[in-house]
């Protein structure tokens, strides 16, 4: 499968919507519409910062019916690897970026009788499109949104104003904390739960749902995990007979791309499965959510977007 599905897009708006979150709108440089997307989709944004390049996935925010424009919200990760810093500091109206076709790893469960969304902080982003779709389809939905305070709560005021009944805000600054046990314990049969937010919140929700006996198939979560840095290592490519160095702060996938080795990808966060690559030898530090435990134990494949070598060397069958 080809990885060449990007459009060049120009930033049409860049608004600081909270102290940490910037909202960007894009249009295609060729003037054509982007086309519709499904709620929960992400798109990979490609950035070039001198010799560095970043490819980060972001949830598409906003109405899936506005084809001329795609919108994303980016939280500044000061300790991150640079993508969000670049978006915040270097991208302004008129900047041109690459944007991939949408792909959905967090789709709405269509047959659900009720949709219960649990958002924390910037985890609100996929739910913006969810709510548009649910409003359009006249679905039964509820959003529980935890924020630090109104200043930091992206879209909080507008959501509460538009859907006063369905939206419940939990404002930390006022000591109002969401009690997931109570929320999950009082749902009608046929409810599906969607959770997106900080790692700990997602973990809490999954654990509480499990304790309460929710079927795992009724709980859906999305976390965009950026690749954590690790130790540098070298990679031998058995078929193309070359050797590549992977630096501490870059992923294996990024190092392969730097060396012009094409690997299909989508989420770049260890979830979608596109970049799965065969390993011939070397011990793997598996960090993905995609491979089964048996596959991980076999040591024969790796998700290079996020996983690394355990030691200082890997040989790949490419």
């Amino acid at each position: 499968m080809s990885t060449d599905f990007s459009h060049t897009a120009r930033v049409t708006r860049a608004d600081q919507i909270t102290p940490l979150i910037k909202n960007f709108s894009f249009e295609r440089v060729d003037g054509k519409p982007f086309g519709p997307f499904s709620a929960g989709s992400h798109a990979v944004i490609g950035m070039h910062d001198g010799s560095e390049s970043y490819k980060n996935p972001y949830s598409l925010v906003g109405s899936s019916n506005n084809f001329m424009e795609y919108q994303i919200a980016v939280r500044l990760e000061s300790n991150g690897r640079g993508g969000s810093l670049f978006m915040h500091n270097n991208v302004e109206v008129g900047t041109e970026l690459e944007i991939g076709n949408p792909f959905n790893l967090f789709p709405v469960y269509k047959p659900a009788k009720k949709h219960l969304m649990l958002a924390g902080g910037v985890g609100i982003t996929p739910f913006m499109a969810y709510i548009d779709e649910m409003d359009l389809m006249k679905s039964n939905f509820e959003l529980h949104y935890s924020i630090r305070d109104f200043e930091h709560g992206a879209f909080a005021k507008e959501l509460k104003k538009k859907y006063p009944e369905q939206v419940k805000l939990y404002i930390q600054a006022d000591d109002v904390i969401a009690n997931f046990n109570t929320i999950l314990n009082s749902q009608p049969l046929g409810t599906h739960v969607y959770v997106c937010g900080p790692h700990q919140m997602v973990g809490d929700v999954l654990r509480i749902a499990d304790d309460l006996g929710w079927p795992t198939t009724s709980i859906h979560s999305e976390e965009f995990k950026a690749p954590d840095p690790g130790n540098p290592f070298t990679v031998t490519l058995a078929k193309s007979h070359c050797e590549i160095n992977v630096r501490a702060r870059e992923s294996l996938l990024e190092a392969l791309e730097q060396a012009n080795v094409e690997i299909p990808y989508s989420c770049r966060g260890g979830a979608c499965g596109f970049c799965k690559t065969e390993v011939i030898n070397g011990e793997i530090d598996h960090r993905d959510y995609y491979l089964t435990d048996a596959e991980k134990a076999s040591g024969k494949c790796i998700m290079p977007c996020i996983s690394r070598a355990q030691g200082d060397h890997l040989t790949l069958d490419i």
Binding site: F5, N101, P107, G273
Partner: protein, 338 residues
């Protein structure tokens, strides 16, 4: 490029069976066998065009039988409206399908179809059928039928809409009036594995696990296709189990003398598209029929047809319903493979 022309009068796929392929239609027939011996494979390729004039050139191929196949669909639905079926959560998928077909036909055949959009106010023109319809995209009350039924009544081929959830694909809506012996009412709501349950041999080969994994990853704007085939007696489109009493007995009518005229190769160009709004999948099944006589006007096809039939696995002979006339057919075909 030669201009697309429809048959001047409607052909029938039942009763007097007046369906015939023109010389041009025979020439572009999608002959399905890459080798002299047939076995299953996940024979997928990208569906992004094909040779000019071939059945793969356009997103949805429209050919000389368009008006006749639309009429055949109308007849089937009049007798049995349940050949179009949908579960309640399939509205978005249906609008996706309507948009995909309308946009593709308007782009690929501008002399016959056009689509004008003013936000959600759409105007659809289907000149061969004399249709000019304005409606509001997203508002079902502005169309005479469900969106998927409305547009597939104007299209060739069967269409199955699949919902993607739980790492699986569910056949949750469909317009099926020309199936090769499977029932939309029976299969509605089935998962991918359930739906393919009856297929022999392939399960043991792991074909469906691999196929499902592949399908779940199909991306927007990157549709794929494959060919499938079976044999049909007489040029009959509707060989559904619901009407088995109308066609099952025809298998007994094949003799070594009439096999060339009676037996038809039925090739399905099966397409798969990721749908943008619903994140679902469209499975399109466009069937082409050709009599053995017409097929054998091409010597290379005739020779290979004989070899494929002669060496076909017994379980496949049985599954495809060929058992009863297999000997007569192979005998008739042997004249082209001396």
């Amino acid at each position: 490029m030669t201009k697309l022309a429809f048959k001047p009068s409607l052909e029938t796929f039942r009763d007097d069976f007046t369906y015939r392929n023109s010389e041009k239609a025979v020439k572009r027939f999608p002959f399905p066998y890459p080798e002299d011996k047939y076995m299953y494979s996940v024979n997928m390729e990208h569906h992004n065009g094909g040779e000019p004039g071939s059945v793969f050139e356009k997103t949805f191929d429209i050919d000389e039988h368009y008006l006749s196949e639309v009429e055949e669909r109308r007849i089937v639905l009049e007798k049995d409206p349940k050949r179009f079926a949908t579960l309640p959560h399939m509205d978005l998928h249906q609008w996706d399908l309507l948009e995909l077909i309308m946009e593709s036909l308007a782009k690929d055949y501008p002399e016959h179809f056009s689509l004008t959009k003013d936000n959600d106010n759409w105007l659809w023109e289907n000149r061969p059928l004399g249709i000019k319809k304005s409606f509001v995209f997203g508002d079902k009350s502005t169309l005479p039928q469900d969106p998927a039924e409305y547009i597939t009544r104007q299209a060739q081929g069967d269409f199955v809409l699949m919902d993607q959830r739980d790492e699986d694909l569910y056949a949750d809506a469909a317009m099926v009036t020309s199936s090769a012996d499977w029932s939309v009412q029976f299969d509605l709501g089935m998962s991918f594995m359930e739906w393919h349950g009856p297929v022999p041999l392939a399960h043991g080969m792991g074909v469906f696990e691999r196929a499902l994994k592949y399908l779940l990853m199909i991306r927007l704007g990157q549709p794929v296709r494959r060919l499938n085939w079976t044999l049909t007696i007489n040029p009959r489109m509707d060989t559904a189990p619901e009407v088995y009493h109308e066609w099952g007995h025809e298998r007994a009518s094949v003799t070594p003398e009439n096999a060339g005229e009676k037996v038809h190769l039925r090739v399905e160009v099966q397409t798969l598209f990721r749908l943008p709004r619903s994140n679902g999948m469209l499975f399109g099944v466009r069937a082409y029929l050709i009599s053995m006589e017409d097929l054998c006007t091409n010597p290379a096809w005739a020779q290979r047809m004989h070899r494929v039939m002669e060496t076909l696995h017994p379980e496949l002979i049985d599954y495809k319903g060929i058992t009863r006339y297999h000997k007569a057919l192979v005998g008739w075909l042997s004249q082209f493979d001396q």
